[in-house]
Amino acid sequence: MSAPTLARSGDLTATPNEPGRESRRERRRRERLEEQDANIPVQLYGLKRGTVTGITALCVLFAIFTLAPVAWILINSTKSQAGIFQSFGFWFARPFQFFHNFSLLFQNTDSGTYFQWFGNTLLYAALGGGGATLLAGLAGYGFARFKFRGSKAFFYITVGALLVPVAAITLPLYLVYAKAHLINSIWGMILPSLVSPVGVYLMRTYVDLSVPRELLDAARIDGAGEVRIFVKVALPLMVPGLMTVLLISVVAVWNNYFLPLIIFTRNTLYPLTVGLGVWSQTAERSGGNSDLYPMVVMGGLVTIVPMIALFLVLQRYWRGGMLLGSIAN
């Protein structure tokens, strides 16, 4: 579909320097230029002068809107409780107690310890998100490259799980868990997280596009076993897709609130979302008589920093068309 388009700008693949020795910066620059070349030049749209500036201004406004809460939490994590409620929200105030607030997170409160929640969240995200990625990869590969009876039906069932209103069935799930003794078990949190219909869908599409059947057939003719083929031939080709699925799966687990809220009654098992929620509610309920506020703010900050960092580092995996293009299609 768009193949001729890209061929145009790369009509003559002259590499100015030796190929393969591009530094990361050079490569990024080249990719950016290629991306520009691949888009229709703006002048062709016949816009009035100043349109670009106007639209950029709108973007800036929305960016401010988007970043405001993040800026707020960053700034206010340095304040004392009084500071939070009395000083101007978007600027600093004396005393500056960023590190003090940070240390507060280490103490045990009635509702639990922050860093224990952090560790829990890491655990659930790693096992749940990582496991989901693995399973999605296996299932995607299975659905894409193997024909077996009813494969289409199973696929639709799996993807159909998207339709399941998760929050609505969480309570019934709790009741099921109660019978299965899964209340207050980390597996109760991890197992449901392993099932990612979005992940399976994405991986199947990705495998379809990136793992040529001929390659697998050639390997089979050469006598390699299926596992070996998967590990040595298919898996390396699937990596970008897997990274994308990993990103969404980990985010989904990290941000999950309702499930752990229902199934965990012991606060030592809470992930960060539930823990923070409890703190926040406790603080509000006592109407300013507790001194939890700085902890809530600082806790919130520490919760979002890893995810944002992960996002920025793994940008290429959610920028790429694959991620959400497949959902959109």
Binding site: P4, A7, R8, S9, G10, L12, L33, D37, L44
Partner: protein
């Protein structure tokens, strides 16, 4: 004054890639000009520059006497048929064709009339209410053409419109495109990588390679007088046989040394080679530029070969210029040696045949001689060792040449034969510059 003229048109991308390099071309009103070349040669880029979809880095583009470098593609009055048709999937055929007229606020009744007319010319009248999804490839292509012609633009651009069709349909559509062209007499620039399309459709053909124009002339011109090695091997199928050779002086004539064989050429170096310098043989109006002449080899028009005596050259022999002496010469002459062709000097070439393909209308004989074959880019090829796998099958060394013979020839594989060689039609190229060597032509 040409309808479209490209003067030194160059395109360099931000990444430093030079897609088109100083292209000089003109298209007369109503002419059908084909841009042909291998993938990546810049032909599509050049087309898009004419459309205005690519910016021009340097050079001048004129429509008539108007410089249009900076004119937006919206206002150039140019219509384009894309390789993938670019039809709007959610609109009917009628709406697709009429889309541009909507933009120009043409009133409904007139719009409908023009759409119906265009559909009529293209045989789409029954399909006006269908959507592209319900059409075959050939039909979609015609809708794309309809969309272009309904605008009655000054210039028509076509970007490999037949590439996505299967072979049989392509042949049919070639005729269609030409029929429509004749009907509306539009100035057309047509891009393709298929040299057959170029040769059969173009009034004039421009061969491009790596962004540079190799030769521009009528199909006849390109075939009979290729300006360089690339054009010689690109045009014509099966491709021209090219070998390393040497020329020697002999009396007042020239002898071609090809492997271990010596072939006498007519005295005065009167064999043909290189395009006619300044000759209007091609029928195209002289553009004044250097493109219609041969290479600037500096060799004098007559006895051009004399300058190469004692030097290495590349000799080109078209497969149809080799013949079976038993069947009266090359397949092109057909018939018996009625003696009427005595004026063509026929030398002979000894060769070992390797493989024979009987096509019915002609016979292709693959042979090898002990000369070094030359690839289009001018790279000499290692002989026999290249393909040990086939050597057994092909009874000896791999073939390095092919001859097109009269179908009545009874030459077989694995024999030693002598082909007749029409020395008047030999082509010669400078071994270093790859340019054709000029000789007296007429």
């Amino acid at each position: 004054m040409s309808a479209v003229s490209l003067e030194g048109l160059t395109k360099v991308y931000a990444t430093g890639v030079k897609a088109v390099d100083a292209l000089d071309l003109n298209v007369e009103k109503g002419e059908f000009v084909v841009l042909v070349g291998p993938s990546g040669c810049g032909k599509t880029t050049a087309l898009r520059m004419v459309a205005g979809l690519e910016g021009i880095t340097s050079g001048t583009l004129r429509f008539g006497d108007r410089v249009v470098n900076d004119v937006s593609p919206r206002h150039r009055d140019v219509a384009m048929v894309f390789q993938n048709y670019a039809l709007y999937p959610h609109l009917t055929v009628a709406q697709n064709i009429g889309f541009s007229l909507e933009n120009k606020k043409v009133p409904r009744p007139e719009r409908d009339r023009r759409v119906r007319d265009a559909a009529g010319i293209l045989g789409l009248s029954d399909l006006l209410k269908r959507t592209p999804r319900q059409l075959s490839g050939g039909q979609r292509q015609r809708v794309a053409m309809g969309r272009a012609i309904v605008r009655e633009p000054a210039v028509f651009l076509m970007d490999e419109p037949l590439s996505n069709l299967d072979a049989k349909l392509r042949v049919q559509m070639r005729a269609e495109v030409l029929r429509v062209h004749r009907r509306i007499n539009a100035t057309t620039l047509y891009v393709t990588h298929d040299q057959t399309e170029a040769m059969t459709m173009g009034d004039r053909v421009a061969v491009l390679r790596s962004g540079q124009l190799q030769q521009y002339g009528s199909p006849r011109d390109l075939y009979d007088h290729p300006a360089n090695l690339f054009v010689a091997s690109f045009i014509g199928s099966p491709a021209m046989n090219l070998f390393e050779a040497a020329l020697e002086e002999s009396g007042d004539g020239t002898v071609l040394v090809l492997g271990s064989q010596r072939i006498t050429l007519r005295a005065g170096g009167g064999t043909r080679g290189g395009p006619a310098s300044g000759a209007p043989a091609s029928g195209a109006p002289a553009s004044g530029g250097p493109m219609n002449e041969g290479p600037a080899s500096g060799a004098p028009a007559s006895g051009g070969l004399a300058a190469y005596h004692g030097r290495k050259v590349v000799v080109g022999i078209r497969p149809e210029d080799l013949g079976d002496p038993a069947v009266g010469g090359g397949s092109r002459e057909g018939g018996t040696s009625a003696g009427g062709h005595a004026s063509h000097a026929h030398a002979t070439l000894a060769a070992d045949t390797r493989l024979v393909e009987m096509l019915g209308s002609e016979k292709h004989v693959f042979f090898s001689i002990d000369a070094t074959p030359v690839r289009a880019e001018g790279v000499a090829v290692e002989a026999a060792n290249e393909d040990t796998a086939t050597s057994g099958i092909l009874a000896g060394a791999a073939p390095n040449g092919v001859a097109r013979l009269d179908p009545r020839s009874s030459i077989d594989a694995g024999t030693r034969v002598r082909f007749t060689v029409d020395t008047e039609r030999l082509h010669f190229f400078d071994a270093d510059t790859h340019q054709a060597i000029q000789t007296t032509a007429c």
